[in-house]
């Protein structure tokens, strides 16, 4: 059970740029495993350096990759 409501929308960004996860991993010099952890929402935190590299490659803003999910109170 996570203690946050942040979703990483990496899937959508990759689709928009027509890139695969493997290509992104190679471009940002990270392992596919780690990017997969990010993509599937299993990551607990992301370093600013990682966010910078991903945004540079995907030509986007950090806000394009991160979204806040609905709270249980607002359902």
């Amino acid at each position: 059970m996570t203690d946050h409501r942040i979703h990483v929308t990496l899937d959508e960004m990759l689709a928009r740029r027509g890139m695969t996860l493997t290509e992104l991993a190679s471009a940002v010099d990270m392992s596919v495993v780690n990017l997969s952890i990010l993509k599937t929402g299993k990551a607990r935190a992301i370093r600013f350096s990682t966010l910078t590299r991903i945004c540079d490659v995907l030509d986007c803003q950090p806000g394009d990759l991160l979204a806040l999910g609905p709270s249980h109170l607002n359902r």
């Binding site: 990270m30 780690n34 990017l35 952890i37 990010l38 299993k42 990551a43 607990r44 935190a45 992301i46 370093r47 990682t50």
Partner: protein, 215 residues
């Protein structure tokens, strides 16, 4: 160019020491046990010998001071007084109960030491299989510390009781409570240290999980 630092095995020193001690124990037991069984006159661990002996209070036996000739021989100053050291009482034909009590007055602390060695080796193997930072390893380490504390205290109590009962059997006027009580304070402090390390490792495990899940 950054010099690559050699990563030392954090479990290396403990692993080495426990392996060496375990090997030495096995060899000593093998040689000593075989010699005691097959050679007359050799006892192993001072148990199962022809006689059993136990230290008694110095009030038994010897007089409290030397005579004049002895004082001159040893060159004792006039105002110096002598007191007898502990008297040892021995039974040349012990019963099974006497032998059992003699064993219980010696072996428990050694058993705790061997048990601690075995559990430490098992904990090291577990750490190598499951990683250094896991809550399960932290619990094992804390449990090891508690086992050591309970073992040391328990062994000291058993040895005190056994030596007291044996002394009472050989010297009826001595109470069974007059056994020898000794406990390793360094061991107790060390065991408490192991318990604390286990608790710190439990916190570190959560930190490691966070670090592992940080991309």
């Amino acid at each position: 160019m950054k010099k690559q630092t050699r990563r030392r095995d954090p479990l290396g020193p403990l692993d080495t020491v426990t392996n060496v001690l375990a090997t030495v124990l096995v060899v000593v037991f093998a040689i000593g046990g075989v010699a005691a069984i097959f050679t007359d006159g050799i006892t192993f661990f001072d148990v199962n010998g022809p006689t059993i002996c136990i230290d008694a209070d110095g009030s038994i036996g010897a007089s409290s001071d030397l005579d004049t000739m002895d004082r001159e021989f040893f060159g004792l100053r006039d105002d110096v007084t002598t007191y007898p050291s502990q008297t040892t009482v021995c039974d040349p034909s012990p019963t099974f109960a006497d032998r059992a009590l003699e064993g219980l007055s010696v072996i428990p602390a050694f058993a705790v030491f061997v048990g601690f060695l075995v559990f430490t080796q098992r904990t090291i193997r577990y750490a190598r299989r499951h990683g250094l930072f896991s809550t399960s390893l932290a619990k094992r380490i804390e449990r090891l510390g508690w086992l050591l504390v309970i073992g040391l205290v328990g062994a000291a109590c058993i040895e005190w009781l056994a030596s007291g009962l044996l002394l009472h059997r050989l010297v009826s006027k001595e109470s069974w409570t007059r056994g020898s009580f000794s406990i390793s304070l360094v061991g107790i402090i060390g065991a408490c240290g192991i318990i604390s390390v286990g608790r710190v490792m439990a916190r570190a495990a959560y930190l490691q999980e966070d670090a592992d899940a940080t991309i």
